[in-house]
Amino acid sequence: MKWSNIKELLMHILFFLTACVSIFAVVLICVFLFANGIPAIGKIGVFKFLLGTKWKPGNDIYGILPMILGSLYVTAGAIIIGVPIGLLTAVFLAKFCPKGLYKILKPATELMAGVPSVVYGFFGLVVLVPLVQNIFGVAGNTMLTASVLLGIMILPTIIGVSESAIRAVPDSYYEGSLALGASHERSVFFATLPAARSGILAGVVLGIGRAIGETMAVVMVAGNKPRMPQGLLDGVRTMTANIVMEMGYATDLHREALIATAVVLFVFILMINVTFSLLRRKDRA
């Protein structure tokens, strides 16, 4: 065999191996998380762990229902705030924005995606927390604060995905609607948007994933009380916050219970990912 052929073959194998790295990484992540987390769930008891309403590591009581609910509530709040604003902004960017303005606004939304979580969290801490405190007369670290902050943070995701979904809709729908005497606004909302439905939904699902996985910003504003959520104006702890708050000093079963929390979070994220890719596939078809 000639040297050049050997070189070709070697590099082919090398490229093949690098392609396998991402598979290897996912397997590794699953193995480490599950191996360290599942035994803890077994020791605590599946139902006691998932449905237990008390989290008291001092007494070896590990129920993460408060945190699961906390994550879900805060995420739902973020969606309620972020989706309408994000979607309407995407419509503006795709169908209403003059070209010159677009050149400024588009990079601005990209910048929004690039601002680090800690900066958002700090902004929440120094602006939103006092604001909620002043308006409602309660301690400002609340579910509401976290929802608003997360709602802002998922805006770039929703805007980005929705805008490209709207732009992918053929102009013929819009023109067909105009030709029937519908105004520009009506045509965009009633002819173009319905056609972009599944793409927009994919954006929302992606936003849910971002919100449920967000950690630092939430920790900084949510209050982090490890008990059942009491309402919009009360503190709340999410699954992510649970891990970050206690991982630094946890040992033994406590530590494993935190890893098990990550396992539950991971399963949530996997479900969201599957939904997202199904929706996107449907959009392409």
Binding site: S172, E175, G176, S177, L178, A179, L180, G181, F190
Partner: protein, 250 residues
Amino acid sequence: MSCKLAIEDLNLYYGDFHALKSIHMEIQPNEITAFIGPSGCGKSTLLKSLNRMNDLVEGCRITGAVKLDGEDIYHGMDVNLLRKRIGMVFQKPNPFPMSVYDNIAYGPRTHGIRSKAKLDDIVERSLRNAAIWDELKDRLKKSALGLSGGQQQRLCIARALAVEPEVLLMDEPTSALDPISTSKIEDLAVELKKDYTIVMVTHNMQQAARISDKTAFFLLGEVIEYGETESLFSMPKDKRTEDYITGRFG
């Protein structure tokens, strides 16, 4: 006979390109007027100027006047009302991605009709007028995207009829269809001219000869010849028209 649409000294520019050059034309009511000519001659552009769809095109500039029943459509007329009065059917069938019923009801709903009974009535009447009611009456709730190309195009015609227009613009409505669907659309057009004024752009000279009353021949943005279809095809006055209809170019 008073004319339905009057085009007076219409010029249209795309940036520096002079796409329509001083067009004068009078379109009669209850007739089919066909625009023929080679690609890029401006026939579709002129059609789109009649319901102001060219307003969407960036860098497009129009001078002159278009009058519908004597009213200037470019001055003081609400664009949306204009487009309600002058409906349009596109080259490629473009039903909305919703049910057959919602496609037809889209226009009436846009113009403020909410009553279910009224909408039901309009949907049935429009589909009957477009000669497609019998084929579709059992699948009104099904997606319009599942229909065949020919059915989709007749659905689009029904959709245009549902807002009760006076004029129907058709932009090569059969160019994407098979011969059977094409003949159905042609029959439909002849049927519809009793109640509507139809302006049709076509690539197909036989089609123009078969169904139109008047024909206009376009070349490089100018109307070369405009008149009774029969005489235009049998004794063209201009050499260029003759060359085109005898197939020497285009």
